[in-house]
Amino acid sequence: MYIVRRWVTRNARSFEVFYRLTARVFHALDPLWAGLHRTPLERPFTAVEAWCKGILFDCRMCGRCRLSVTGMTCVMNCPKTIANGPCGGVREDGHCEVEPDMRCVWVEAWSGAQRMRGGMAIRTPQVPLNHAIDGTSAWLRLSTENLERRRDAVRRDAEGAS
């Protein structure tokens, strides 16, 4: 919802803190989440994720959450889905050139980023989206990748020690 999404951006700092805390709890349970990946339970899990993020951010389920580097604003709401905005068409009142009733998503992202402690990550160029993962769970992917990274690190340590 537009109103909720703008409220989130205005409170980007609080959401950043909330995000860090929940991420810690979430990642503690990585083995559980990674276990769901590619099982029949993935679909209901993805539906819950889509519902939560839909209410808060108008999430479009691109499969790769970048909220922490885009001022807690889901930039998939940009009509051009620009990953490195804003474009040059922002109206003088800060509204979108394509949808004049909506604030430019990237103007919002920039204002959110200024409120966040790690907000300047918005200055790093983002790589193109992988459309092969459209509609899939970003959380499960994050967990699986995180777990694999940790296992790799453990393996490397073991190899280094032997």
């Binding site: 009509p79 990953a83 068409g89 003088e92």
Partner: protein
């Protein structure tokens, strides 16, 4: 080197093109936009290029700007390179996905295109075919990064090897006149980080605003990493200026400019004079490397505007020859 032998490239240069050489040698550069024809006749393109050719270091071939359908940038570049011109291929992410774009980059470089301008593109809703499917697979910044990878690392986005990389000078657009104003210089920094070597800005009608932008740009040292060409263009009348201000998002025209136009006896002539005055002021701003003239439907004025602004004065060593080839008022192919 296994590059195209006909185009030797200077050390430290990305391309063999004239635009890069003019800019790197510290000369004030002039580029202009070609009005693409709604026709399949090559003569229509050549006619448009001819009126710009006297003063331009490169001619921009727009890619369905404003999401309106015209002859493609690739088509125009094919014609212009064949005729010996130095075009800037514009690539908009609106109409093609990453597979098509990377193929076009190789094809363009093979034809002798030395400059590519990376754009996200206007939304399809603004053009003559609002029912079209918008692509936006990449955006301007990731497009820059993609082409830089093709050129410098000789790989496609997938990592697959390219045997002869495209030696192109990479450009992007910038708009200092659109919100969020304090973010605009940082966005330029982002584009430079992704590979932009030159930028062409949106129309500038507010020199004070440009000065403020350039002050931040200089503080960040961006003018040393990227050549900045400021967009200019003559306004045909006060009515046209008001229409542009109301209907073209991203173009900022202050009241002072519109009042000056409205108060003039010959508004068209005044529009031209405003453009000349703007160029003279813009030239004095430290960090500006050139101007990009977008004289939509007034292309025949470009040569006069540039010569009258005096930005190329230092290049003239034979005033008599310059006088002989000066355009006359009657030469008006648009009428």
């Amino acid at each position: 080197m296994n590059d195209v032998a006909a185009y030797p490239i200077l050390d430290g240069y990305s391309s063999a093109g004239r635009l890069e050489r003019v800019l790197r040698s510290g000369r004030f550069a002039v580029t202009a936009e070609l009005n693409p024809p709604d026709s399949a006749d090559p003569e229509d393109t050549f006619r448009q290029a001819l009126v710009l050719s006297r003063v331009c270091d490169a001619i921009n071939a727009t890619d369905a700007s404003g999401a309106n359908c015209h002859m493609s940038s690739m088509g125009i570049c094919a014609l212009l390179t064949r005729a010996g011109y130095s075009p800037v291929l514009q690539i908009s992410c609106r109409d093609r996905n990453r597979i098509a774009i990377q193929g076009d980059v190789l094809g363009a470089a093979a034809m002798g295109v030395h400059n590519i301008l990376c754009l996200s593109g206007d939304g399809v809703e603004t053009g003559d075919q609002p029912g079209a499917k918008p692509v936006f697979d990449l955006d301007s910044t990731s497009l820059l990064n993609t082409i830089r990878g093709m050129r410098d690392d000789a790989v496609f986005l997938s990592g697959r090897k390219i045997t002869t990389p495209p030696r192109v000078f990479l450009g992007a657009a910038a708009n200092p006149f659109s919100p969020p104003y304090d973010w605009r210089p940082l966005r330029l920094a982002k584009k430079i980080e992704a590979g932009a070597q030159f930028v062409q800005t949106q129309y500038c009608y507010d020199v004070d605003m440009l000065e403020r932008y350039m002050a931040v740009v200089r503080d960040l040292g961006l003018h040393e990493k990227c050549f900045i060409l400021v967009g200019v263009g003559p306004l045909a009348s006060a009515k046209a200026a008001r229409w542009i201000r109301a209907n073209v998002p991203g173009v900022h025209i202050p009241d002072t400019v519109i009042d000056r136009l409205a108060g003039a006896e010959d508004q068209k002539r005044e529009g031209k004079q405003i453009c000349i005055d703007l160029i003279s002021q813009i030239r004095e701003i430290p960090g500006v490397s050139g101007v990009h003239v977008m004289a939509y439907r007034q292309e025949h004025l470009v040569t006069e505007i540039i010569l009258d602004s005096g930005v190329l004065k230092n290049r003239i060593i034979n005033p008599e020859a310059a006088e002989r080839t000066a355009p006359s008022e009657e030469a008006d192919p648009a009428s």
